[in-house]
């Protein structure tokens, strides 16, 4: 097996044997169970005349609640990715674990790419698995399904991968705790900067709008989150938001348009830059 795949396998194996995967699966099942029960309650809500809510209204409420639930999932994913990626390389350098392996015919780039790949596999599997469970539960409870479920998974997974990539860059030079905290704070700041950009859109203030745009370029997590939101918005909501004009766009839990193609292209470039930076940083680090 090539060294890249050996390091990817080790990363997956470590998460599995340290019971990280088990903990995530159990917690996710709990969340899915509780949320399914909650969504099911929507279908039993009665109006003042004692009749049940019509299906369209149930779908609308469900769609908006699903966005909030997904925000929690994306948070768990981002948090987990940052916490796991932060010490991915630094802890093994500090403990000496990498020393004997780096004395083998292994390139440092293979270590970096392998570890990224292993964690990327876990992030993607978690995003796809948790989405499948949650969407199935919501569908069974209310009959609702979001308009673009595949895109939803891709955007949420990409957000996790972005945090993983940032954590990995930091991990090549900083201690695990420092790298993890910086990645997490950067994620929150990017989200807040996105909100600032929304306010700029609402107020039609270009300076504030630029804050959002620049933050999306520096760390594309919020831009990807908006993609996930768009994938969950029913047409009725989209039409209402568009009718509301700029005010309809000033909300971090709403998206009127899908992310522009140029942004998506930048995300691909951004991932390439982060991996290149990680490799360069680790290659030039003295151990």
């Amino acid at each position: 097996m090539p060294p890249v795949l050996v390091f990817a396998r080790l990363t997956v194996q470590e998460s599995s044997r340290r019971r990280l995967l088990l903990a995530l699966v159990i917690l996710t099942l709990l969340v899915v169970g509780f949320s399914a029960w909650g969504f099911n309650k929507i279908t039993t809500v009665t109006r003042s005349d004692g009749t049940l809510l019509p299906h369209d209204q149930v779908s609308l409420i469900t769609s908006q609640l699903l966005i909030v639930i997904t925000f929690m999932y994306s948070g768990v994913l981002a948090l987990s990715a940052a916490v796991v990626a932060g010490p991915l390389i630094s802890s093994e350098v500090e403990s000496g674990l990498l020393l004997s392996m780096l004395a083998r015919p292994v390139r440092r780039s293979e270590v970096v790419i392998g570890k990224w790949l292993g964690l990327a596999i876990l992030v993607t599997i978690y995003a796809a698995g948790s989405a499948l469970l949650e969407l199935t539960a919501v569908n069974l409870a209310t009959g609702y399904e979001p308009p673009h479920p595949v895109e939803l998974v891709l955007y949420v997974a990409a957000e996790g991968l972005a945090l993983l990539s940032l954590g990995l860059v930091l991990s090549t030079r900083l201690s695990g705790i420092t790298g993890g905290v910086i990645a997490l704070v950067a994620w929150l700041m990017a989200w807040i900067a996105g909100v600032v950009g929304d306010i700029g859109t609402g107020l039609q203030n270009s300076a504030l709008q630029n804050v959002g745009t620049i933050s999306h370029l520096l760390l594309p997590t919020d831009g990807l989150w908006r993609g996930a939101v768009y994938a969950m918005e029913p047409d009725v909501i989209l039409a209402a938001l568009r009718a509301a004009g700029t005010a309809g766009r000033a909300n971090p839990f709403s998206a009127v348009d899908p992310p522009p193609t140029a942004f998506l292209a930048w995300v691909v470039v951004w991932f390439g830059l982060m991996l290149t930076l990680s490799i360069w940083s680790f290659r030039t680090r003295e151990i």
């Binding site: 097996m1 060294p3 050996v6 080790l10 194996q13 470590e14 044997r17 340290r18 403990s95 000496g96 674990l97 020393l99 004997s100 392996m101 780096l102 004395a103 083998r104 015919p105 292994v106 390139r107 003295e286 151990i287």
Partner: protein
């Protein structure tokens, strides 16, 4: 390569490493022939581990050149032929011993058909066969160091770097490691032994180099290095100023009641005794002996500090 096959195990020319303004290694030049057990001695912070890391490509030299098995340091292909037990040894606690060794077989890389045999032999050599299927996290420090040694041995390397290989081992373990080192040498493997356990080095090494402040201050075979005589004196009644005056008799290892003159010509013993008496000291015992590596080591460091 034919040229490489005839090349020494290690050859360095003016290998230098600076960390900012600190000189960790100042112009290391040495040659370690194939199959030799080479001891690299020095006090803490002398530059021993830095040297090993430079040779293994974990650090980049500031200047100078070095070759391992005839190839420039950092060459990936050469690393197939090298084993390394780091001073800071740590292995995946969530793997069992057999899996750790399989990982090293895979990275070495060895053909999968040879793994089983290699792993069994390495486990047997370090005495871990009974614990092969136990998680490394359950191992004591000493067992982890044995595992590290086993990992360094997989693939029958032509050159093995052992950085303080017995730091976590009990006397039995230390004896075992000395036997392993001798066996390696017998089958033609060169061993670069970093240690400050002088008796250990004295027992197994063909040649040694003593490093201090990043420089080699002496090197040679044991016979070349240990040619002098040391004199141990049991004495009382000497104050500090009197002890200072005894510096005229060469480097002194002062352990209170016992004074060891680490390099003193046997002909000067009567003069030494009369001087001690003249300074107010009372002599109970005088025992000249061949210099040990520890005597020589202390003498060299003493001279280097002047």
């Amino acid at each position: 390569m034919r040229v490489a096959a005839a090349a020494p195990a290690i050859h360095t020319v003016d290998l230098t490493k600076r960390f900012g303004g600190t000189v960790a290694l100042a112009g290391l030049s040495m040659t370690v022939p194939r199959g030799e057990i080479f001891g690299f001695l020095g006090p803490n912070g002398a530059g021993k581990t830095t040297s090993v890391k430079l040779l293994l490509g974990l650090l980049k030299p500031t200047s100078g050149e070095a070759w391992l098995l005839g190839e420039p340091i950092g060459d990936l292909g050469t690393r197939r032929r090298i084993g390394y037990l780091p001073e800071l040894f740590r292995y995946q606690g969530w793997l069992d011993a057999r899996e750790v060794l399989a990982l090293h077989c895979e990275l070495a890389p060895l053909p999968r058909s040879k793994w089983k045999e290699e792993i069994a032999a390495a486990l047997d050599t370090v005495g871990l066969t009974d614990r092969a299927d136990d998680r490394v996290s359950t191992f004591s420090k000493g067992m982890q160091q044995r595992l590290g040694l086993a990992a360094a041995l997989v693939g029958k390397p032509e050159l093995v770097f052992l950085d303080e290989p017995t730091s976590a081992l009990d006397p039995v373990g230390r004896h075992d490691v000395r036997e392993i080192i001798r066996d390696l040498s017998e089958r033609g493997t060169a061993v670069f032994l970093n240690s400050h356990l002088l008796s250990e080095v004295e027992q197994v090494c063909d040649r040694v180099a003593v490093v201090d402040h990043g420089r080699v201050i002496a090197s040679g075979t044991m016979d070349e290095l240990l040619s002098g005589t040391a004199v141990k004196v049991r004495v009382s009644g000497l104050d500090d100023s009197a002890r200072t005056k005894l510096a005229a008799f060469g480097p002194l290892d002062d352990e209170g009641e016992h004074l060891t003159f680490t390099k003193l010509d046997i002909e000067r013993v009567p003069e030494l005794v009369s001087t001690i008496v003249a300074l107010g000291g009372r002599v109970y015992e005088v025992s000249p002996r061949h210099q040990t590596l520890e005597d020589r080591f202390l003498q060299l460091l003493h001279e280097d500090d002047k």
